[in-house]
Symmetry: C2
């Protein structure tokens, strides 16, 4: 059995696994419509929104495509705040749809800078910018961007503010209505603790108004069809029923733990992993303020290929961690700590990392990582 | 617990349910790449093809969109052979993508006519037609079209031949290479006996050549990305891992039963349901030759609303059957008998149908439907 310590898919609670193996249900029954209603209400609580919210049967990228296909016209000027691999995905998606993309690139490993956005927006006297795309949690670098500050930088400008919150939702606070976020995308296999295959998207009234003028070809991801079906508490096409039943269970668990406690737990695990990595003499890619509560990026120990660390962790210790993506490939490795993670998972991960590093000739005292994990876990008990 | 007797989602075997509840696995591991390779090989056997074949995380409609987005350009003249609700979906999809759609409509409940297609094709001296879209099994009417004859009607014409085989694949024979089918779409929740959420699509070399000239915006369903990732036995975006593990189990079961036996079983169940319905004095929508082996459409008993039959079957007897769709709503009800169906499932379904019809005042002798079911089941044992 594998322990998943990647930034999604995540490990799953017993209640979720049990729901997945329930006998099949009809997707056009009153009973299943009740499930769709119930999970949508719960998802809106996590989104902190009264906006429309839809469940799509696709991985997160499908919902990202919906966010472009429904709200950006060919030729529209859009800004992408890019500071990692998933920021680049916004760029590629917008390019696919023929948008006039202006990329504001940031350093990979640092937060996107709201001041630069603010300056660019205030220079847009003709209000030519139609949308601003941002990433909540940049999975590839372990950075959580300051969404609130980025949205404030847009101010009263009429451009839509569109967020990829796939790996950040239910990890750290995200308030759709209070922060005025028009379109927000998330995915099932991250902090929602269920398998990949569902994505979620919220749509503000402002975004709906824009979508009426959008002429892109779209069908499976056409949110107008989703909205029409949702009036009857159903979906336009057959949904991944077993995943929706699993989602109902995971949402109950989140509600039981309390969203604030879920945030706190992730915050604490971030602290544990960062402190342990430093105790092992490793360098972190991100500073404390920018660091994600869901995934930690660790720079390669000098002369050791991070892909080798990933391989040994998997093959010898049964623990799946991630390497770097794109331009950070070969530069970092990443430990995910989101969703269904326990104290014990952190203990075994750091313990295995120690033995892996020792095998690879890294110089440190065996146990010095675990020691700080133990201290932090103990301290929290007080 | 519900017994699903709809044309998908279907009931699921124990092996599939068990696989669904396995702990999470990493999707970028060598182990999971092996699974992707293995299931792709098995799927190609069922497709009878050496063409490329991809697994998408979406319901069947997503793969239908891929079949349009990747192979039809805006303004392309395309023919849709429409004789039901899912034929209409091809029309809508092609319209969404700005194709010049010519619909050859057939009677709902009868097979699409290859002669009409042949005549239309032979009149296309300028070879303006770029693609012909057909439905293998029209779920809405319980008709299986004669794919082989339809393909022969296209002859040497260079138009692509694109098939929705979502509810027909692994129910009745479909030979992609022998019949020269360019693009063929199917879905997980039908005869593959796993939950909804995966779709499959095969692509011929001819179709690949065309796709290079296609300029539609596409990203999540861009099959070029799927092909590139498949070289490394992976997918471009996070796949629905648990469904792929379940698929592996269901493909093993199909292999064990033998594809020819799977076809025979479906053929027999069609005969049982049709004979029982007639014994109850009900009229069938389709004739024997056109009738689907996966779903049977039954005309409403005079003055009885078929939606009431569906409702009583569900609420009082725990059996989910389907009403009519689109223009057949209120005219028919449909019993699905595809995928994981047993003799016993047919017995209880016809038994419950008898009690439902009696409650609604239909005139017949209680037991006369079950009697023919018993006789047919007994006869097969000889």
């Amino acid at each position: 059995m594998q322990l998943l310590m990647i930034p999604g898919p995540t490990n799953m609670p017993r209640e979720v696994l049990q729901a997945l193996s329930l006998p099949a249900v009809g997707h056009r029954t009153p009973e299943f419509s009740e499930v769709i209603k119930e999970v949508t209400v719960s998802l809106k609580k996590i989104y902190h929104t009264k906006n429309d919210l839809f469940i799509l049967t696709s991985s997160g990228t499908g919902a990202m495509e919906a966010a472009v296909a429904n709200f950006v016209n060919q030729g529209d000027k859009v800004i992408v705040m890019e500071n990692g691999n998933f920021g680049e995905r916004w760029v590629k998606l917008n390019n696919s749809y023929g948008a006039d993309v202006e990329v504001i690139s940031g350093v990979w490993g640092e937060q996107a800078d709201p001041e630069i956005l603010k300056k660019r927006i205030s220079a847009d006297h003709g209000q030519e910018i139609k949308a601003v795309f941002v990433t909540h949690n940049e999975t590839s670098t372990g950075v959580t961007n300051d969404l609130k500050a980025l949205r404030e930088a847009l101010g009263e400008h009429p451009a839509l503010f569109i967020v990829d919150a796939i790996s950040g939702m239910a990890v750290s606070p995200l308030k759709v209505d209070e922060w005025n976020l028009d379109v927000v995308v998330s995915g099932s296999q991250k902090a929602f603790m269920i398998p990949p295959g569902l994505s979620f998207i919220s749509v503000s009234p402002r975004a709906w108004a824009k979508s009426e003028q959008v002429t892109n070809p779209r069908f499976y991801f056409d949110l107008r069809a989703a909205a029409k079906s949702f009036e009857k508490s159903t979906t336009p096409y057959t949904p991944a029923t077993c995943l929706i039943l699993a989602l109902r269970e995971s949402l109950k668990l989140i509600e039981k733990e309390g969203l604030q406690n879920v945030y706190k737990r992730h915050q604490f695990y971030k602290q544990v992993i960062r402190t342990a990595a430093k105790a092992l003499g490793l360098n972190l890619l991100t500073n404390e303020k920018s660091a994600s509560c869901g995934v930690t990026a660790i720079k390669k120990p000098t002369a050791i290929d991070p892909q080798t660390i990933v391989k040994i962790m998997r093959e010898k210790h049964g623990i799946i961690i991630a390497g770097g993506q794109n331009r950070l490939k070969g530069e970092i490795f990443r430990i995910g700590h989101l969703g269904y993670v326990s104290d014990n998972d952190l203990v075994v991960t750091i313990a295995a990392l120690e033995r892996t590093l020792l095998e690879l000739g890294w110089s440190f005292q065996l146990g010095q990582g675990i020691q700080v994990v133990q201290e932090l876990l103990q301290e929290r008990m007080k």
